[in-house]
Symmetry: C2
Amino acid sequence: MKAQAISNEYLTEALRGAEVRPSTARVHVLKYLLEQRNHPTIDQIYRALRETLPSLSRTSVYNTVGALQQAGLVRALTMEGNEMRYDAFTEDHGHFKCERCGAILDFDADLSAIGAAGIKGSVVTKRDVLLWGLCPACAK
Amino acid sequence: MKAQAISNEYLTEALRGAEVRPSTARVHVLKYLLEQRNHPTIDQIYRALRETLPSLSRTSVYNTVGALQQAGLVRALTMEGNEMRYDAFTEDHGHFKCERCGAILDFDADLSAIGAAGIKGSVVTKRDVLLWGLCPACAK
DNA sequence: ATAATAAATGTAACGATTACAAATATTATA
DNA sequence: TATAATATTTGTAATCGTTACATTTATTAT
């Protein structure tokens, strides 16, 4: 899957639309998440962006991702106890983690259908469907 | 939901059946998980069991839960980045976390149905469906 | 009984995340 | 344009859950 380039105009607009100021770090982090769609850890984002933003700090990545999360532009997911991962792809989908190569892949899933049969009287605001196993490449 | 008492005979049999020696710590941890069904953290297990097992150490809880996990008697889940939780209830079900009171509730869900529509050629070995929101009590 | 093995303990190390104060950049106001 | 006010970023230190490891204790086999 080739990374799809996303224009700065689109990014700044997305940020402004979510009422987040389009600072350099925010634009770059959002761009990275939208282009790569690889559900990276904070450290992966940090290492990747440091090449073009040499002054970037790990803390800034935490802050930035936190701001994007609060603005609803990014979602966190945890498939393995210690490592938190981030996703800016907002269409309904589930997550598959390959336990051999570690990759996290998206798959189509109608999340909105879940929860109706859930706990009576509860209000559901967030959903996720998680699968673990071997990805097609590793299954062979 | 009242805690259902589980006999030591049942526990030791369950452990032996999974080829895990029924040591004191293992019996108590498994008993706790099966009776409470509250998806506790390691620390919650530790604090609860320390009352009856004063010599219990946090490390032992880690070791014990790890052994039970490897034996397939316990499953881990993470609904909030930092805190890992454990579940010895093996029937198919999803997990709902109340973001106000923090409780994690089970709900019926046919997990085996998921994954078929997943990634072509992948092998799925573990599944979970996660919901977040407000539990019935907190929703009011 | 004794030796061999497994389990439990406690301390130290580790790694991801958060807290916080200082520095820098951005925006608003004069 | 200067200046003040505010927001963002940085870097270091603290925190917290987890893991590593060596020692002690308990269990099993001889």
